[in-house]
């Protein structure tokens, strides 16, 4: 591709801002200056869809009502492990108001084996939800019960019941269950170890590293199973007409759902349209079509009617994912000067019947250390599958790692902030530490446990990193229309992050028009494929194509206008919705008039995400540089009751070029509050006797409400890297990683005893204080 050289802002304003020259594709626009000099981008522009949300007019998937629509309800297993001898749906089929019943079966007609409580086995479609629920209860199953295990530690024992006990026969490499194609052996329910992470495998020599160490910290940390609880549950409404399946989905990935539905039914992607105008939260769990997608489609096909299939809260809790737990062993060596000499890490965690419980990354990448090794094991248990949860693996990994680093600092007699100044090479976190410590009042911190009285104050901090991920499979289309309409279109969805609004801002900035000129049409696979909203990739992936498509449209428009104004298009510019000749101000036309005079009724352009500027190839979605964060926590601990209350969090973050400062801060609030809840309140209660989740609701599953919300101050630091036409990245996961461990460090500072397991509930505090 032809390239051109441009200069882009580089560094941190007020700290080390400069410029960098990069080769960029010739089709891409010139660099934007820093936010201060922009009109729309970076500003706290109000959410495009706020009006719909505050008036109750926003139609979520759960709100869809189509003509003739039926309501569906799953019938789920109520035992954690069994073979199904028979399943009888006759009574359900005959129930008045029922239109169809579908049983979960493989293409070959095999019934699924039951592996967790809440596993979907069949579904009923009826004229009302009440009837579907009543009829689903009439389905009868005869089980052949089997032994099961739900506890992550019990599952590792050699005599534990095997979760995935079905032999995989006829494996070409001769394997049976337990033998993998690369020859490694699984041990019962234990899968692994995985010895790598995003940035490669082990390095150096642990033995030598620990030999060099003057001090060593060796601990085991534990984190709990943490469910997502998006307020809108998983689900779809499917309307399958011949040759055209429309899926309304509560999803983080319209394109992903479209692809899966097409694959499942072996039909063309063109036959499937997925629409997600509003998604009521996802936090990582809503990427796939799920069981509900194909099931609703089958019921729609069977009845010829649209089918509504949204889960209820209990189903959501039992079957639609959670952040896996972790038992995280860490051994870290350091020299007297603070330098880390060795990090050994080993983790076990369970994502139930699924994989994905690793926690390795933070320990591997946050600080430099020449000797590192990790072993990460997945442990199968008879529980529903885990799912990605805002910074998968990182929030769990940071909980142990950043406590251990604090412990090293203490052993070295150093302040936690000063110690990180020594071992942390990140420039962005250095600035965040300085500004955060000042805003927080870090100097108030006293020695651990030195507060007198029963109610003690504590101060703590912790750091995190998240890679700059993007996906190149991101395309946006821009339309300029006679009559003045400006549209941006992409299948990318907005689950509350503000994607819709930042796309409007980017297009408005590029076209020199007010943001309310721009209509944003997203969340529909009839538009060009956009990225999933996960991994904090959406902003960095779709805003450059949006800008580039707007730029192309602008060039076409200016070309046409130049003829009219008898100007050189290169001399034309747009500011405040006015097109004028920079060399002759009398040559001017309003943006709307220019659109009215277009040769065709519309200009349509599109652009896809290019590799990062400067020839950085997007090998597997990784842009270069990272997103650093530093968070500070102030807590009060009641040492008589064991209750911890978070009073204040100061969160210092970077996300490249922030596109909408209000939305960035809102997402930081969200990440912090979810992290606080991870630290203190939420955990799944699994009954070992029966395999049930006992708190599959929102009153016994302890989510934070208003009284638990601390004062949150956020610091957003612009950090330019000259990598794309917007140079913007996401903030979703970065905001969620450091909070829990910052709180744990603050609790230690308050009471002088470390707590190695979250959530830090009263029983753990009282135990730590030897009061029980």
């Amino acid at each position: 591709m032809d390239t051109k050289k441009i200069k882009l802002p580089y560094g941190i304003p007020g700290h080390n801002l400069g410029e960098i020259e990069r080769d960029i594709p010739v089709t891409e626009p010139p660099a934007w200056p820093i936010n201060e000099k922009l009109k729309v981008v970076g500003k706290p522009v109000k959410r495009y869809d706020a009006l719909a949300k505050v008036t109750g007019k926003a139609k979520f998937t759960a709100d869809m009502q189509l003509s003739g629509m039926l309501y569906a309800k799953f019938f789920r297993s109520n035992t954690p492990k069994a073979k199904i001898k028979s399943i009888n749906t006759n009574k359900a089929k005959d129930f008045p108001g029922v239109y169809a019943v579908e049983v979960m079966k493989s293409d070959e007609g095999e019934l699924p084996e039951v592996k967790f409580v809440g596993q979907p086995l069949a579904a009923v479609a009826a004229s009302s939800l009440a009837i579907a629920e009543e009829a689903a209860k009439l389905i009868e199953v005869e089980y052949d019960y089997e032994d099961f295990v739900v506890d992550v530690e019990e599952a590792q024992r050699s005599e534990a019941p095997i979760v995935h006990a079905v032999a995989i026969s006829a494996q070409t490499d001769g394997g049976d269950v337990g033998v993998t194609h690369d020859g490694s052996q699984t041990n019962g329910n234990i899968v692994g170890p995985s010895t790598g992470s995003f940035f490669g495998g082990p390095r150096g020599s642990l033995d030598e590293g620990f030999k060099e160490a003057d001090i060593i910290v060796e601990r085991v940390y534990r984190t709990q199973v943490h469910t997502h609880v998006p307020l809108e549950t998983h689900g779809v409404v499917v309307d399958w007409k011949p040759g055209n399946m429309t899926v309304y989905a509560s999803t983080q990935s319209t394109a992903g759902v479209r692809n899966e539905m097409a694959e499942y039914f072996g039909i063309s992607k063109s036959e499937v349209r997925v629409i997600s105008e509003f998604t009521g939260g996802g936090f990582g769990a809503k990427h796939s079509a799920g069981v509900f997608g194909p099931m609703a489609a089958k019921l729609s096909k069977a009845t010829g009617r649209p089918v509504w299939l949204m889960l209820d809260r209990k189903e959501e809790h039992m079957a639609e994912g959670y952040r896996p737990n972790s038992i995280h062993y860490l051994k870290i060596g350091a020299k007297k000067n603070g330098n880390l000499t060795a990090i050994q890490q080993r983790s076990h965690g369970t994502a139930g019947i699924a994989l994905g419980a690793g926690v390795g990354r933070i320990a591997q990448v946050l600080y430099e250390c020449p000797n590192f090794s990790t072993e990460q094991y997945d442990v199968y248990t008879n529980a529903g599958p885990g799912a990605a949860w805002r910074a998968p693996g990182n929030a769990q990994g940071a909980f142990g790692f950043e406590q251990a680093i604090d412990e090293i600092a203490e052993k070295l007699g150093m302040d936690p902030v000063s110690y990180r100044d020594i071992i942390d090479k990140s420039e962005i976190r250095k600035v965040e530490r300085q500004q955060g410590a000042e805003k927080f009042g870090w100097s108030r911190r006293k020695a651990a446990g030195s507060d007198s009285g029963a109610i003690k104050k504590g101060f703590g901090m912790a750091q995190s990193t998240w890679p700059r991920f993007v996906t190149l499979d991101s395309t946006a289309e821009v339309r300029l229309m006679q009559g003045g309409a400006v549209e941006i279109r992409s299948s990318v969805q907005d689950m509350g992050t503000g994607t819709k609004t930042i796309l409007g801002q980017v297009v408005a900035e590029e076209l020199g028009i007010p943001v309310d000129y721009v209509t944003v049409l997203i969340g529909d696979t009839y538009f060009p494929a956009g990225p999933a909203s996960g991994g904090s990739v959406a902003t960095g992936s779709i805003t450059p194509p949006a800008r580039n498509a707007a730029y192309k449209a602008k060039l076409e428009l200016l070309e046409q206008v130049a003829k009219k104004l008898k100007s050189d298009p290169a001399n034309l510019t747009i500011e405040d919705a006015k097109i004028f000749d920079k060399t002759d101000g009398s040559k001017a036309i309003s943006f709307k008039d220019a659109l009215q005079g277009m040769r065709t009724s519309q200009i349509i352009t599109n652009a896809s995400r290019s590799d990062d500027y400067g020839g950085f190839k997007q090998e597997w979605g990784l842009a270069y540089g990272d997103l650093g964060s530093v968070q500070f926590a102030e807590v009060t601990v009641d040492t008589e009751t064991g209750f911890v209350k978070v009073d204040k969090i100061v969160a210092a973050h970077s996300c490249g070029r922030p596109l909408n400062i209000a939305h960035v801060k809102s997402q930081i609030n969200g990440g912090v509050i979810q992290g606080l809840s991870f630290a203190l309140y939420e955990y799944r209660v699994m009954d070992k006797q029966t395999g049930f989740m006992m708190n599959a609701n929102v009153d016994q599953y302890k989510l934070p409400y208003s009284m638990e919300i601390p004062e949150i101050e956020s610091i957003v630091i612009e950090d330019y890297s000259g990598t794309s036409s917007t140079d913007a990245y996401g903030i979703g996961e970065p905001a969620n990683i450091a909070t829990a461990v910052a709180i744990a460090n603050a609790v230690y500072n308050a009471i002088g005893v470390r707590i190695y397991e979250i959530p830090i509930t009263p029983d753990k505090v009282l135990k730590a204080l030897n009061k029980i």
Partner: protein, 73 residues
């Protein structure tokens, strides 16, 4: 982390994954797995973490020769 050629790995066409970095693998996209234990896998056909043959869904196992295996186009 390494890129795996799906043809070499002979992953089942219905094996899907979501990486921590948000992208979906399988179907349209290349595979970048095996050394990343944060990835969630599922089978498009069974819509879950157990395959249609009731065995586990795991990139090491969802390969040629397994009963429910289907080759990519």
């Amino acid at each position: 982390m390494k890129k795996v050629n799906p043809i070499d790995a002979k992953f089942c066409r219905f094996l899907k994954a979501k990486n921590p970095f948000g992208t979906l693998e399988g179907g349209d996209n290349d595979w970048y797995v095996l050394e990343d234990s944060n990835t969630i896998y599922w089978c498009v056909k069974s819509n879950g973490a157990g395959g249609p043959d009731n065995g586990p869904v795991d990139p090491r196992l969802c390969i040629s020769g397994r009963r429910c295996y289907k080759q990519r186009d």
